[in-house]
Symmetry: C2
Subunit: 199 residues, 2 copies
DNA sequence: AAAGTTCGACCGACCGGGCGGTCGAACTTT
DNA sequence: AAAGTTCGACCGCCCGGTCGGTCGAACTTT
């Protein structure tokens, strides 16, 4: 998959990160102690500090990984879509699927923003806007190409509404339910974009 | 408005609660110290304990107030709606408006669930389901009355999708923006229920 | 009306405990 | 033997919460 082989240390770091994400999502960042994380991965607290410089760094890494992955995925999705409307649908579909497949991680990202150092908090905001822009630009293109389509609200509001429907999945999706993440994504995308249809 | 006059102590309690909600929403429950809250309302920390027995009680009160208000409002909305489709639209509209007008409070309710004592956490879940049922029942009634309407997904998923679009407003709505909470509610309701229309 | 009584409101000082984080000594690997 | 890895013991800090007591307004009592 990835070109480089992972060093032993990197493997450890990854395990630490995913364990931390899991516990943060269940108890909250502030309520989780480094001791708990250490116990969960089977090492002592000081050993964690061999791989990360602080508790905050764990959180920051979690955020920036998600952010990078998300923006890259969005870029690819838009680039691969034949029409703006397809771009919108695929953006929704893949985003829902990603959210459902990483519920714990996204819970942390959505609910621990206030724990971020000011500098990263800004970055998060910027990148979130960048993501909204992928969506908004595709929408604008679609609307321009099909002036008969009536949104009934400002485009920005429509984008936020869609993102709400999409992101909220982190709260209620259950893998044991009837739909796979992809099915769910397609269903939600179809319903949300019904208003955009041009027949 | 309310029948009873508020005692001095009750006024203080209310002030404490709304201040706590504001600070909790900005810094998170765990990261907020009782000292901060005390400073913000201009009293000393021990004085807070004259009105509330613990930090947790502040949070619990916040939750149960919102829960009570929300369920009552939903009941009334459904009762007043002439048709199931109207019920769905009004439920969405009023819920969006309420969310926009109480962003800080709802942020706390959505993001601090893990801080709740197990007993109340269950109650919250029950009540949330009760709210979903108001929605789901109206949807079922509408679907039965108009079998031609195609949802394209299981009703429960549609309900969750709508609730996502609705609840997410706590994250992005800005009162300085172009729409009032009610306008926004109507726009979102109209868009989400476009699929349900029967013309 | 003055003196004594009661009580809600209030707070300075304090406590036990758990937290994030450090350090140095010990093992393991090469 | 040097480098990388691990952890027991420890530290300073701040938190939620308590304690003992003060203040003043409203009622009794005389």
């Amino acid at each position: 998959m990835t070109g480089t082989t992972l060093s032993r240390a990197d493997t450890r770091r990854l395990r630490l990160l995913s364990t931390a994400a899991e516990i943060f999502s269940k108890r909250g960042f502030r309520a989780t102690s480094m001791k708990e994380i250490a116990a969960a991965v089977g090492m002592s607290k000081p050993t964690i500090y061999h791989y990360f410089t602080s508790k905050e760094e764990l959180l920051v890494r979690l955020y920036s990984d998600v952010l990078d992955e998300s923006l890259d995925a969005a870029r690819e999705t838009v680039a691969a879509a034949p029409t703006p409307l397809d771009a919108i649908r695929d953006l929704i579909t893949s985003r829902v699927a990603y959210t459902c497949r990483n519920q714990a991680l996204l819970k942390v990202c959505f609910e621990e923003e206030h724990e971020l150092p000011a500098e990263l908090a800004e970055q998060v905001l910027e990148r979130r806007h960048a993501f909204e822009d992928f969506f908004g630009d595709a929408l604008a293109a679609h609307l321009e190409a099909h002036p008969k389509v009536m949104l009934g609200m400002p485009p920005k509001i429509y984008v936020n509404m869609c993102l709400g429907a999409v992101n909220w999945c982190y709260k209620w999706y259950r893998p044991t339910g009837p739909s796979t993440p992809e099915e769910l994504g397609r269903q939600i995308a179809a319903s949300l974009t019904a208003t955009l249809d041009v027949r």
